[in-house]
């Protein structure tokens, strides 16, 4: 029944290990973003599904966008932490998403773990690229493919080098203790560890 998540895992290399630090959280959010963007793309066209469904997906996408914008300053401690105690590196997410999209568009092998190569604790957090964030808005998706969109974005600042900053308690929707991720990610962890 957890069909979507299982399919996602099967896309990844078999011996890959999921880490439940910020990388795992980002993967989950990326999956959600990917699913939403895919739905929006598929819903454009003459035989579009219902307006209600379209509006609900649009609103969900906007929430994702807002959450990415709200992600506070970076620097994650080097040790893997419990879910929810870490912060969320916006640049790492953007970088990961871009890398993965470029990879899938080139139709090369799927990366083992889209976020594994990133050292989350060492990222600088530049301001989120407004062009990228606008890409999340479905208004654009009808006009041009995702390809055109992301290739224009300069990712050089994202794949970056170290700067440590003091850890900050998370403010975003994602990381508040007791918020939804605990339940959802706990469940995901059960599935991964149990299988």
């Amino acid at each position: 029944m957890v069909g979507g998540l299982k399919r996602k895992r099967s896309d990844l290399e078999e011996d890959e290990k999921w880490d439940w630090g910020p990388a795992g959280l980002r993967s989950y959010q990326q999956a959600l973003l990917r699913i939403s963007l895919d739905k929006v793309q598929r819903s454009l066209g003459p035989r579009a599904p219902s307006l209600r469904r379209h509006v609900l997906i649009q609103n969900t996408l906007q929430q994702l966008q807002a959450a990415l914008c709200l992600a506070p300053a970076p620097a994650l401690p080097p040790e893997p932490l419990f879910l929810g105690e870490e912060d969320f590196s916006l640049s790492a997410t953007i970088g990961s998403i871009l890398r993965e999209l470029e990879t899938s568009m080139d139709e090369t092998e799927t990366p083992q773990n889209p976020v594994a190569p990133v050292s989350p604790q060492n990222e600088v957090l530049p301001q989120p690229d407004p062009v990228f964030l606008e890409a999340l808005s479905s208004q654009y998706l009808g006009d041009s493919g995702l390809d055109d969109f992301f290739l224009d974005i300069d990712t050089s600042t994202v794949e970056k080098e170290p700067a440590l900053a003091a850890p900050e308690p998370p403010h975003s929707l994602f990381c508040a203790p007791g918020s939804w991720e605990w339940n959802e990610l706990d469940h995901i962890m059960e599935i991964i560890l149990g299988s």
């Binding site: 029944m1 957890v2 069909g3 979507g4 998540l5 989950y28 999956a31 959600l32 699913i35 003459p46 035989r47 219902s50 307006l51 209600r52 469904r53 509006v55 609900l56 649009q58 609103n59 969900t60 929430q63 994702l64 959450a67 208004q139 929707l173 007791g178 918020s179 939804w180 339940n183 959802e184 469940h187």
Partner: protein
């Protein structure tokens, strides 16, 4: 009024023994889209039962007179009439086939002085029809924004008040209900009452709005309450209290941890309906795996039953079903991961006076009744 549906008898789902009565429809493994039932409705007396399907076909069943030679079975429902509501059309300009799906059937109330009907097939408008004027309608609610890109909310259901013919409600994709009085203004863009439950911050997620979207709204027969169905629950509202529902019944709370998957496979957008029994003491709604749920408002008990061909022996009692939500699965329980999400019961109807229910399971119509004591 005689019958188990009247006052004084426990008319809830749990004090009764539900038995299989009839099933209509083909047994094919591959179900054609056109044969999927999209609406089920008893008429005001319960003698007629109408179904509509996605192919535009309407079937009316009529209840047979009581059969003295078979006193244990109430009158059966047999086909009275079948007709095609409208033929599929092709829009040559857009090269689009226009769907002929029947969205809803409403029997005309026997004693409705107003003789009006609401139509809400459009997500953005509600139109009012007079029964004697069939070539035009009067628009009473219009939420279409000037710029469609600003649209963030749509109408999901609407219903007239059963006793006050000038009052109606409509629900939205954001989990709100507006009650409007047509005497206030011609265009009911201003509501008289606004029903919304405050969000619980501890359960907030990206899916909060989607699961709060109301898929059905039904007034109680008394007109004092209304019931709303969202993805995980049914809520009963007192029309005099807008701030929160007076009752919340969980339909399948075990799905809350599966919302990501349900979002991905689109099940989260399924629109379940709900219904009251004749005395308003019980409510019923559908779920997945061909399960449907009944809630007794007096005893606060609930039961899960299944519509399946395996339990289709005449007068066979329906055995309550249970979903295992964690820990060791007991015998006869079904685990959440084993549920069939393609078998969904979206449409159910309860006889207005007796304990007879009609349950639509994809292309089959099941009729159940309580065992006569």
């Amino acid at each position: 009024m005689a019958g188990a549906g009247g006052g004084g008898c426990p008319a809830g789902g749990n004090d009764l023994q539900w038995c299989f009565s009839q099933v209509k429809g083909a047994i094919d493994e591959d179900v054609a889209e056109a044969d999927i039932i999209s609406t089920v409705e008893f008429n005001y007396s319960g003698d007629l039962l109408a179904t509509g399907d996605k192919g535009g076909r309407v079937v009316i069943f009529q209840r047979e007179q009581e059969n003295k030679s078979r006193p244990h079975s109430r009158g059966e429902y047999n086909v009275y009439s079948t007709f095609q509501s409208h033929e599929p059309e092709f829009d040559y300009l857009k090269s689009l086939e226009i769907e002929e799906k029947i969205n809803k059937i409403r029997w005309l109330p026997q004693q409705n002085a107003a003789h009006f009907l609401l139509s809400t097939n459009d997500d953005l408008r509600i139109n009012l029809w007079h029964l004697e004027i069939t070539d035009r309608s009067f628009n009473i609610v219009d939420i279409k924004p000037a710029n469609m890109e600003e649209l963030t909310e749509v109408i999901t259901a609407a219903e007239f008040h059963p006793r006050q013919c000038n009052v109606f409600v409509y629900s939205s994709s954001k989990g709100t209900v507006r009650l409007c009085d047509m005497r206030s203004s011609a265009l009911c863009d201003r509501h008289s009452k606004f029903f919304e439950e405050p969000e619980d911050p501890s359960s907030r997620s990206f899916f909060s709005e989607i699961i709060s979207s109301i898929s059905d709204v039904k007034f109680s027969h008394s007109g004092r309450y209304m019931m709303t169905r969202d993805y995980l629950s049914v809520k009963v509202w007192d029309l005099n209290m807008e701030s929160r529902p007076v009752e919340t019944h969980q339909v399948h709370e075990y799905l809350r941890s599966k919302l990501c998957s349900l979002y991905e496979n689109d099940c989260i957008f399924d629109k379940f309906e709900c219904c009251w029994n004749g005395s308003d003491s019980a409510i019923m709604t559908g779920s997945y795996n061909n399960f449907f749920r009944m809630f007794d408002r007096n005893t606060r008990r609930d039961v899960t039953l299944e519509a399946s061909r395996e339990n289709s022996k005449p007068r066979a009692s329906l055995k309550p079903r249970k979903v295992c939500t964690g820990g060791k699965r007991k015998k006869d329980e079904i685990s959440v991961d084993s549920l069939d999400f393609n078998k969904k019961i979206l449409h159910t109807a309860w006889h207005p006076a007796e304990n007879i229910i009609a349950v639509a399971a994809t292309n089959n119509l099941y009729i159940f009744q309580d065992r006569i004591n």
